[in-house]
């Protein structure tokens, strides 16, 4: 009776979660945006965060990446407490994200945007940059090669040297995903990766997300309104409504949950 339990416990200990969010609460004045949200993300997992508009999904992302500071609770990435850290420090720990409304550097080329993703991995300082020869040039070349791998991975070759502002929306979304991948993330946050995309673009993006999981083995958290995509791809789903967690589980469990149905369709459904 006790033997199988210990086996399960040791298994749970070896699979240590990448991210642990514990009872996070965020308020703006009297408005409570996030209220007591807790979840964990395991290695290689695609974790989805869904909920109606204004449920606080993006607020959770902003807490994770350090843009907002929660009043209560803790967020641990590989055991490092993130609450109170500033975004660049969190980025150095391996947190990368995309944004709901594309936040690319529109005047820079695709390559430069991706190179900015490499920023924290490139080591030379201002004096080496002034001189360029030697260390700066060597590092630029090495990281350029790494960036080209991402260009290849996301099939951005045709757009490499164009300013991002000139590119179509779907491609911009992909460039933003590439910029996050260039950071060599240990956890990737995708904020509505297929919002506003047509069927074909959505399928392309879904394939890239699957590729990231299977080839790069990067754990991901995805916020998305496209239920078909979420239910097809996600390993586990957290449903939030009005800032509070409603249910957590596999897509099948969540779809059957009466609380979730009520949150989406109303009380009498």
């Amino acid at each position: 009776m006790s033997a199988p339990q210990t086996v399960e416990q040791t298994e749970a200990q070896t699979v240590e979660p990448v991210l642990v969010v514990d009872d996070v609460r965020l308020t703006f004045g009297s408005v409570t945006a996030v209220d007591g949200v807790s979840f964990d993300v395991r290695p290689d997992e695609l974790f989805a965060l869904i909920g109606p508009n204004g449920a606080g999904k993006t607020s959770v992302f902003n807490i994770l990446s350090g843009v907002y500071r929660p009043q209560q609770g803790s967020v641990k990435l590989h055991g490092h407490e993130l609450v109170g850290m500033r975004p660049p420090a969190i980025a150095r720990l391996g947190m990368a994200r995309t944004f709901q409304n594309i936040e690319l550097f529109a005047n820079l080329t695709v390559l430069d945007n991706l190179m900015l993703g490499r920023h924290q991995h490139i080591g030379y300082g201002p004096l080496a940059a002034l001189a360029w020869v030697g260390k700066a040039r060597r590092e630029e070349l090495a990281h350029r090669a790494r960036v080209e791998e991402i260009v290849d991975f996301l099939e951005l070759t045709a757009w490499r040297t164009l300013p991002v502002g000139l590119l179509p929306y779907g491609v911009q979304k992909r460039v933003e995903l590439g910029r996050a991948l260039a950071m060599d993330p240990r956890l990737l946050l995708l904020d509505e990766p297929v919002a506003g995309m047509n069927q074909e673009e959505t399928e392309d993006m879904a394939r890239f997300i699957v590729d990231i999981r299977s080839e790069l083995k990067v754990p991901m958290i995805m916020v998305e309104h496209d239920m078909g995509l979420v239910m097809d791809l996600a390993d586990r789903v957290l449903v939030v409504d009005f800032g509070s967690p409603v249910a957590t589980g596999t897509p099948e469990q969540v779809q059957r949950d009466p609380e979730v149905i009520r949150a989406y369709l109303g009380a009498d459904a």
Binding site: N107, H119, Y124, L130, A131, R137, T157, M183
Partner: protein, 390 residues
């Protein structure tokens, strides 16, 4: 599947690569690159290499053909270009609007003058006569002032930052004017640094005149500083500047520390301003505190806007145009008989000159926001696709 090869270990044309594997460039295929090193080179097409070489060659030949007064004016333009590049790094690349550039130019000018000044003279001086020494020192001291100012300014953005840096100009003018032992006081001024390169006093006419030798000195300094500017712009630092300028929240999430890069931008920009200041009055031999006023700052901003925001070559074009503006307007009476060259009549050339600054800034912002550099781009595109218009 990428168009170019990628080998993380051995990346392209480097001095360590054996000569036999050095990729050859082919005529007619200017954008065919066979290594990242080629593509990321500063002058990455044959046309750019030859063009820049030709421009430098013509500039180096100018002193042998032009008259000395025009040469002095162009020389001032070259020095101003150094300052304009510095301001463009701050405004154009890093997006931090500063009206305080004249202050850092002043710091550079006084540092150079004090270092090079006669120790037994009327004003403060340490007798360090070698020009390379005081040029670099002027840059470094101005950069240190940049470091001190940056933390105050990085807490603000946009218009508020502009107003704070404007205050800097007035504080600077007060100190320059009141510290008479250093500056000679308003309306009087002090002698500027005398340029001595490797023991040769450039202000003495020898085989070449003072103006010729100074022009060559300025040209060398500008080429070096432009190279440094381009290197910063294309480096990790320059990309971080652009990130801070375009989207500061996303920049932070990408790991770019905003405060740090604003500080670096101010420091580098001030270094360029200091170098510019150290040479700006070398030609005239005399300068006084009121020269580092708001007008000088506005002129630098005009150079950046007219030349082309976030371009190094544009900064140089803008600086040369602004430097030549007084000469252009002084030629006006020959073409426009109603413009008088006497300051007592109206309208006179001095009024026209001031009006032209404003008119140029307004016209460029409205009709060619990318400045002279944008005009160059249009010409280039036109001839690239000639005889078709697209």
């Amino acid at each position: 599947m990428t168009a170019t090869q990628h080998e993380p270990g051995r990346t392209g044309r480097g001095s360590d690569a054996p000569a036999s594997t050095k990729p050859r460039r082919r005529w007619g295929r200017p954008t065919l690159y066979t290594s990242y090193g080629q593509e990321m080179a500063l002058l990455n097409t044959r046309a750019k290499q030859l063009g820049v070489l030709a421009i430098i060659a013509v500039a180096a030949y100018l002193p042998l053909t032009l008259e000395d007064d025009l040469l002095a004016l162009l020389g001032t333009g070259l020095v101003l270009a150094v300052g304009a590049i510095g301001l463009n790094l701050l405004i154009g690349y890093a997006g931090q609007v500063s009206l305080g550039h004249a202050f850092f130019v002043g710091v550079g000018a006084y540092t150079a003058a004090v270092l090079a000044g006669d120790p037994d003279g009327r004003y403060l001086g340490f007798g360090v006569s070698e020009a390379p020494v005081w040029i670099v020192a002027a840059g470094v001291v101005a950069a240190l002032f940049g470091v001190v100012v940056a933390p105050l300014a990085t807490r603000l953005r946009g218009l508020y930052l502009a107003v704070v840096t404007l205050g800097l100009v007035f504080i600077g003018q007060y100190f320059f004017a009141e510290w008479r032992e250093m500056s000679g006081g308003p309306g009087i001024g002090r002698e500027s640094a005398v340029p001595v390169v490797l023991g040769n006093d450039l202000t003495r006419d020898g085989a070449y005149t003072e103006e010729q030798k100074l022009f060559w000195l300025f040209l060398v300094v500008l080429v070096i500083m432009a190279l440094l500017g381009r290197n910063i712009a294309r480096s990790r630092i320059g990309r971080a500047f652009a990130a801070v300028r375009d989207r500061d929240i996303a920049a932070g999430v990408m790991g770019v520390e905003l405060g740090r890069y604003k500080l670096i931008a101010f420091t580098i920009s001030s270094f360029f301003a200091g170098v510019c200041g150290s040479l700006l009055y070398v030609g005239s031999g005399q300068f006084s505190p009121e020269q580092f006023g708001l007008l000088l700052s506005v002129q630098f901003i005009a150079m950046v806007l007219i030349g082309g925001v976030a371009t190094i070559s544009g900064s140089i074009m803008g600086a040369l145009l602004i430097a030549l503006l007084p000469r252009l307007s002084s030629e006006l009476p020959a073409f426009l008989p109603f413009v008088s060259s006497s300051p007592t009549d109206h309208p006179n050339v001095f009024e026209v000159e001031v009006g032209l600054y404003g008119a140029l800034i307004v016209a460029f912002l409205l009709f060619e926001p990318r400045g002279l550099f944008g005009i160059w781009l249009r010409i280039r595109t036109y001839w690239k696709s000639f005889p078709f218009s697209y």
